[in-house]
Symmetry: C2
């Protein structure tokens, strides 16, 4: 009887403590939201990054400016330690203006194209060849005997029936990544890829391609959706040739940096929590959503913790990663150095899916960690992230997860508008909504606060 009574008292006490904690957490998360929604600097910081600096591909002058901006902002936002972590980055340059003209019926029509990142240019003379349209790799294989000397036009459509557009992207991006080498294998001289987008405009979308070293590195461009439809239409009527001029090439690898700010843990300084986004962007846009948003949200969490006088139990690192777009050297370096120093990384969170209204988090960890994560859903849901799902993370924190088994998570903003502007000239400051950007930071800060308080 005594034991039973003790158990009951313990149960009641535990529940009362839990309720008290939950109330405290709820209040602190409310104060995070109030700070960001009332005094937030996240939108103004994004304006500077996108408008004053702009595109910042690895190795570019924009990269150097952005790193300087980043380290200054970390210090200004209250980082106790702030440093640049050096890493060698690839240095691909577009090298000039990408041009394409469609020739048929005795007419020449300009097409809106952009060379794929990491692709080799046509050379100054350009090239001209007949076009062979295929809807898939399977169709290319079937038409292999017709591919020689041709420009292969991959007209694979972004699937509209997937509700989350990242699924459509995962489904279609193979033609951008592997299309050039698959075509070169059959003797094609260049590749045109239909842009991976649901947009209603005609802007072409770039992104990295990767050559298989067994085949010729043939030029490759992406084409806007309207032009893709028009090209396909013209091909139904008869032969079409396209003249193409692109100038992409690699310069020697150069020095880039991860920009890191830190708040040291007061109780468990050896347990490290990482929050980040990537500082690089493609050169044909301002990289506002991809991933200026993730960068300024990361710094905003630092600023907010300082503004609220929050002293974390664990060490929190705020990281603007280098070279996500065409090399992932920043994320790789970060994990390598963590390993070399024997650091203990308990959790990492990335925002690299746009600055749109937050809807949830995707989480990768073991079952115990996942169940802990799921318990926090009711605390965060009122701020937008109600969808807590299994699976997720980010490219830059991927190496950390693979190296240490660190639990990782990714912010999941609403995905409907993302691929309208992804890697295209529409990815500019004006396409970001102030409140949506701020709310992303609110939800991330809430999650980081909970991981810091309760461990992972």
């Amino acid at each position: 009887m005594k034991i039973r009574l003790t158990a009951i008292i313990l149960f009641v006490l535990t529940n009362s403590i839990l309720a008290q904690q939950s109330k405290e957490d709820s209040l602190f998360i409310r104060s995070i939201a109030n700070e960001i929604l009332t005094n937030g600097k996240v939108y103004d910081n994004l304006r500077v990054l996108t408008k004053d600096i702009g595109g910042r591909l690895a190795g570019s002058p924009g990269m150097v400016k952005a790193e300087r901006w980043g380290i200054d902002l970390m210090k200004e936002s209250g980082a106790e330690n702030a440093w640049l972590q050096e890493c060698m980055v690839p240095h691909w340059v577009r090298g000039g203006i990408d041009e394409a003209v469609m020739h048929n019926n005795g007419k020449g029509t300009k097409l809106d194209v952009v060379a794929l990142g990491n692709s080799m240019g046509t050379g100054k003379k350009g090239l001209r060849a007949d076009v062979l349209e295929v809807g898939s790799f399977e169709e290319l294989d079937a038409k292999a005997d017709k591919a020689k000397g041709k420009i292969i036009f991959y007209n694979y459509k972004f699937n509209p029936t997937f509700i989350r557009t990242f699924q459509s992207y995962g489904d279609a991006v193979k033609y951008r990544g592997g299309g050039p080498s698959a075509a070169a294998k059959y003797g094609a001289v260049a590749v045109i890829v239909r842009s991976m987008s649901h947009s209603t405009d005609n802007n072409p979308h770039t992104g990295a391609t990767r050559y298989d070293s067994n085949y010729a590195k043939i030029p490759a461009v992406a084409i806007g959706l309207k032009d893709a439809d028009e090209l396909s239409e013209q091909l139904k009527k008869g032969e079409v040739s396209i003249s193409l001029q692109t100038n992409g090439h690699f310069l020697p690898d150069t020095i880039g940096h991860n920009v890191i700010g830190e708040l040291q843990g007061t109780e468990f300084p050896d347990e490290i929590i990482t929050i980040g986004g990537h500082l690089d962007s493609w050169d044909n846009c301002e990289g506002a959503h991809d991933d200026g948003a993730g960068c300024v949200q990361t710094v905003e969490i630092l600023r907010t913790f300082k503004a609220l006088g929050y002293r974390p139990k664990r060490t929190i690192r705020f990281v603007l990663f280098a070279n996500e777009e065409n090399g992932l050297r920043g994320g790789t370096k970060y994990a390598e150095e963590a390993k070399a120093k024997g650091e203990k990384h308990i959790f990492a969170l990335e925002s690299d899916a746009g600055g749109f209204t937050p809807r949830g988090f995707g989480f990768t960890g073991n079952d115990e960690q996942f169940s802990k994560f799921m318990k926090w859903q009711p605390l965060i849901a009122p701020y937008g992230c109600s969808e807590f799902n299994k699976g997720g993370g980010g490219a830059d924190i991927g190496p950390l997860g693979r190296e240490f088994g660190t639990a990782v998570a990714g912010l999941s903003p609403d995905s409907q508008r993302y691929f309208d502007i992804h890697h295209a000239r529409g990815d500019v400051f004006e396409s970001v909504n102030k409140r949506e950007l701020e709310l992303g930071a609110v939800n991330m800060a809430a999650l980081i606060y909970l991981v810091d308080k309760y461990g992972m």
Copy 2:
């Protein structure tokens, strides 16, 4: 023993039937989504409504064009019956260009203002008076002795700490609705209201005001946020007068219509389900989100049911309501006629919160109905509406709910961008995203399908 076995068999059978039903429902909702996301006309229809017709305030030529467009579209989209339901509507006209100039320090600075809907103009001569700024009704009461002959400037800020912006709107809109009469009570000659918006631009936002017949009907305008801040800044430095010219007035009530399309129920034709949006919009914008979106989504559900060969058990009415913005005569008439005819209205759903990415539904009904509604959440959540909440509906279906106790629900799109453009010149076709608009229709169609199949 025999009874127990029967019970077990029944239990297993019931569960198996439920699982089978759920699978059927899931497949049918998938087919709804595929149809809308692949063959949807909702975006093209919105283009016509906003670009070819544009603003369509009750009584305006735009209203007449929109009604004609609506009835034609209902027929084209497969309505078995389609008709115009006549109702008298108020006929407020802006009457000219709204102008305001701020005078101080010997300078005149133009301000961006828009007369409030239903407000009386200054007359051709305009007026000029000193400005008295107040942050609230309480402050106005405290400064009552200074109000006589002044222009009262309500500078109440849209609260950024509410996560759902409709809460900020609910909090601030009283200054637009009741501000003019509250000021007239103390002898003020006009009112300027800070726009109810989180926008980063300077566009002023109109919307209906209502005069208390005990006081003078003084002119009233809304001012853009940047101008409001500037005016407040100048008032800190010294006296400011403003000259104002507005021309609003009422013409005699005129004839408007609800546009109604119908699919007749095959099993329970007397049980009526209503889906709707409102066809009218303010005159200073295209009314794309408010509420062109709700109108084209409504018609899209009709088109989709026909395209899929779906024959509803219950009668479904697709309604484009008249005059939501400044009279609610359409919604009122619809409920009145339903009552006069002794109709049985089991459910009504409205989309009038913008064409943004869908996040949930708000539901008003009894506990049994609410629990039925909640059971459908897992079927609809994969399409975006994961947040099923108590409380919600729509202005136009409100009279139906009040008259019959009909269960009502409202689509809840993400609210962050809505008040950036609400009743302002930014509410144009270009601010609507095709996929977001389509997904709203998908989620609404799914809910209507379930209500039709299982009753309410």
